[in-house]
């Protein structure tokens, strides 16, 4: 890949992201005027337009961007590590593992926090890591191949198992916790503020940077573990870094936004069609496209039944379901 085409391609994805970021805050049930939002004659507390724009819509859009970016990058990484393009945080059960972790934290009303890391995020990350370890141990084979059938079965098994655990906890919890859990499980970006956005940004960006650092090693692993090893890649170390980091960013965003389905599957696939499978460009491009995609889905979720808002997870699942079926069908034809 030449560095010029690299910069060109990423600029296009960046442009798309900037446009999405610029346009979507203006769309919503209540019409807002930019002129009034930025007017200096009104005080901030009296400026309704500014309040809607900066206090309601913008933090939600930024959270959507982070969530979409993290899930998409995690999807691209899981696909490369497992050498299977149907792998994604949702299909592998990693999202539901993270959900279980978060639900446990909510149900136990745990409120302590490690420096900078909310306890729900921590539990969510542990759940994601547990899920990927479970799936990996189920599908690991002698030759380092991960057959599609086994992989999907392992993902479905993990999903069901974690869902059952979540239901169990849900059943035992009291009314207010129960409401919090069910609302959170639907996946949504609505209850947020800048503090939440700021608290998850460092994790997500650090994670993506680490993954960029090992991206060429992961490229080689995606073509075969033994040949990667023969080219000087430390396979087991890179696998560990990849699995842990992808689980970490998944857990971080799932803890805040709930298990939003299929983003990690749709986005890397779509982006790969344009930029190819080289992770050095696939990671940043998926990050930007995933951010734009989830913002767009959330805008739809905010407006489609206006004034009622629906959780964005419902929109992504409705797009993702048919997409997944199409992928499976195409795979069988090859």
């Amino acid at each position: 890949m030449s560095s010029r085409s690299y910069v060109m391609t990423l600029s296009l994805f960046f442009l798309l992201f900037i446009i999405t970021l610029g346009v979507t805050p203006l769309i919503g049930p209540s019409k807002i005027s930019l002129a009034r939002a930025f007017s200096d004659t009104l005080s901030i507390s009296n400026n309704v337009d500014a309040n809607i724009l900066f206090q309601v819509r913008l933090p939600r859009i930024l959270l959507g961007a982070l969530t979409g970016a993290a899930l998409s990058v995690a999807g691209a990484i899981f696909q490369a590590l497992l050498r299977n393009d149907l792998a994604a945080p949702f299909t592998l059960g990693v999202s539901s593992g993270a959900a279980l972790g978060a639900v446990i934290a909510i149900a136990l009303s745990l409120n302590f926090s490690l420096p900078g890391i909310p306890v729900v995020s921590l539990f969510s990350f542990l759940g994601a890591l547990g899920a990927i370890m479970l799936v990996f141990s189920l599908v690991k084979t002698r030759h380092g191949e991960f057959p599609t059938g086994v992989l999907l079965l392992a993902g479905v098994t993990a999903n069901f198992f974690f869902a059952a655990m979540v239901m169990f906890i849900h059943y035992l919890s009291d009314f207010s916790q129960s409401f919090r859990i069910i609302r959170w499980l639907m996946g949504g970006l609505d209850i947020t503020n800048y503090k939440t956005v700021l608290s998850i940004s460092p994790m997500v960006f650090l994670g993506i940077f680490i993954l960029m650092f090992v991206s060429r090693d992961l490229n080689l692993i995606s073509t075969g573990v033994h040949s990667a090893s023969s080219r000087g890649v430390n396979v087991s170390k890179t696998q560990k870094i990849g699995f842990i980091t992808a689980s970490l960013i998944t857990g971080t965003v799932v803890a805040t936004s709930g298990p939003i389905a299929f983003v990690g599957l749709i986005v890397p696939h779509t982006v790969r069609l344009f930029v190819g499978p080289d992770l050095r460009i696939l990671i940043p491009a998926s990050m930007l496209f995933g951010a734009s995609f989830l913002i767009a889905c959330d805008t739809l979720a905010r407006t489609i039944l206006s004034p009622t808002e629906i959780p964005v997870g419902i929109i992504t699942a409705m797009i993702g379901g048919p997409f997944f079926v199409w992928l499976l069908k195409r795979k069988r034809q090859v």
Binding site: M1, S3, Y6, Q79, A80, R83, N84, D85, E145, M212, F213, V214, R216, D217, N219, L220, S222, T223, G224, H226, S227, S229, S230, R231, G232, V233, N234, R272, G276, P277, D278, R280
Partner: protein
């Protein structure tokens, strides 16, 4: 003076409970062109992976130019020794040129891109293997013989002194088998590469290799020139089938004796 490039001493490797390689010792000399032959399950692939630093033996040691390979930095080792698997399942749509460039991995630091020198080395590797004209095609869409040549180009881009190939001619038709072996012979004589090939076709092995190593149940049964290794009673004992031998144009040919 003949230089020893790689030395294996008392190597054993066990998979689960069955021994694959059993107390094996051998020395590889510079510019050897070795055919590793033997029945299925005799340990050829495993031995190549041990030589390539991909598998670690349970006991014994491997030295490359006087240093134990376990102590050589993986990337540095990959600059000297390359390994090519038997088949190349590819999940993602990489282009041929991208696959060849991956051979430059051991020379690159993280977060860096290939330099014009890397592109130049890959281009030369593709010329040597006659793969330049389909550099922009998808790896998954080319034929088996073409894939094998691309993988050789990629291994060549590592600029290795020693190349290990696991059955490079398996699953190819006659024309491609000969084409691949001619490319490899050229690498051996013109580019001074040391080559070790796991092979099933004894006649091609005898024609192209200057040294054969016959493996059986993880042990070396014979090691030497094709004339020394391809002997009727030894082959019959190892392969468990009657064979006839003849000699044409100075190379030995082996035929399984099929009597009804």
């Amino acid at each position: 003076m003949i230089q020893i490039l790689m030395q294996l001493k008392n190597i054993s490797f066990t998979y689960e409970t069955s021994p694959i390689i059993n107390d094996l010792s051998v020395a590889i000399q510079e510019q050897d062109f070795i055919g590793l032959i033997g029945p299925n399950g005799s340990g050829k692939s495993t031995l190549l992976k041990i030589m390539g630093g991909i598998l670690e033996p349970d006991s014994g040691w491997v030295q490359f130019k006087e240093s134990p390979i376990a102590r050589i930095n993986k990337k540095l080792f990959a600059q000297s020794v390359s390994w090519i698997p038997q088949d190349h399942p590819m999940v993602f749509p990489f282009k041929v040129s991208e696959i060849v460039l991956m051979g430059r991995h051991p020379y690159l630091s993280p977060l860096s891109f290939e330099s014009s020198e890397d592109f130049e080395i890959s281009r030369r590797a593709m010329e040597t293997t006659m793969t330049s004209h389909f550099a922009d095609r998808y790896f998954n869409e080319i034929s088996g013989g073409e894939k094998q040549r691309v993988m050789i180009a990629s291994a060549l881009a590592q600029n290795p002194e020693m190349m290990l190939l696991d059955e490079p001619t398996a699953a190819l038709d006659l024309k491609y088998q000969v084409q691949i072996l001619k490319i490899l012979k050229d690498l051996n004589t013109e580019h001074k590469k040391t080559l070790i090939l796991a092979m099933h076709d004894l006649n091609l092995a005898s024609k192209f290799c200057n040294r054969l190593i016959l493996l059986d149940e993880g042990k070396i049964v014979r090691d030497g020139s094709p004339e020394q290794v391809l002997e009727k009673d030894i082959l019959e004992q190892v392969y468990g089938i009657e064979v006839d031998l003849d000699c044409k144009d100075g190379s030995i040919r082996v035929h399984p004796a099929i009597r009804s």
